[in-house]
Symmetry: C2
Subunit: 136 residues, 2 copies
DNA sequence: TAATACCCTATAGATTTAATAGAGTATGCA
DNA sequence: TGCATACTCTATTAAATCTATAGGGTATTA
């Protein structure tokens, strides 16, 4: 299942990408428009800022805004930050590889084999989809 | 993440598929060979039996065995039973569809759009992979 | 008839997710 | 300067899910 965090994060990103100008948008406005708990969204937007997707401005007239062009934002990067590793098991992860403690041999492991294919097919989707694609 | 239940279930299925004859294999033997808690595996095998993948025989010389040919067992069916819906959100699920309460319009929802692609690519993998493929 | 091995329900412990609370800090404007 | 605004950050709680275990029950075979 997709976590609420990821779902809310994606919705916030698409909301920001749909803005006409680059003016900061307040958390409250996004939370309202997308039916998200404002406090929860706060922590999500914070993590998106820390990972370089969003910029923020404090004080009156402040808010969050996209740093890059939506077409430049790949889903691989977004999903890794919000949802975590794209692989369903650590033993097929590109960025978070870890050997299974119980599995004696990856080469003959059926689970490994299957999950490798799943990872590849998901990666292809995420690599070929940008934030701009989600709006169109 | 792939749940342990699914991982163990898949390992048990591949173990059974690798047997030379169709003689029942005891839970204890599978648990031992694949490093799985025997009691936990019990409930997993039970659910695989109830969903038509396995047969069982009680008493001395009893155990579990595959009902169908490994080549006939698609991963779509296995994953649905062990892991649950293949879709990451209910609003793109073929078998467990449910409308998002917060989303006003699926047609314009970016999350929906993305998850639809993910579902399709995963389905293609699972449809094109049988239990027999995991052994080879 | 006794040993074997699956059957079934309930429950407990651990982990993760989702949400909330509340105080802190920087900014803009009058 | 002073004040309202709005992001920043840490901690905590509540709910849900996952993983594993316990323990007695039932059918089968030798």
């Amino acid at each position: 299942m997709l976590s609420k965090k990821t779902k809310y994060g994606l919705k916030a990103l698409t909301f920001l990408a749909q803005q006409k100008d680059k003016a900061p948008v307040q958390i409250a406005e996004i939370a309202n428009a997308e039916n998200i708990s404002q406090k929860f969204l706060e922590t999500i937007l914070l993590s998106l800022r820390k990972t370089g997707f969003l910029g923020s401005k404090k004080g009156k007239g402040g808010g969050y805004y996209l740093i890059k062009d939506p077409a430049e934002i790949q889903m691989t990067a977004v999903m890794r930050v919000l949802e975590g590793p794209i692989s369903m098991v650590p033993c097929v992860s590109l960025n978070f590889y870890e050997k299974c403690s119980d599995c004696p041999d990856e080469a003959t492991c059926g689970v490994h084999k299957l999950m490798l294919q799943v990872r590849d097919s998901n990666l292809e989707v995420y690599r070929n989809t940008s934030l701009a694609d989600l709006i169109a």
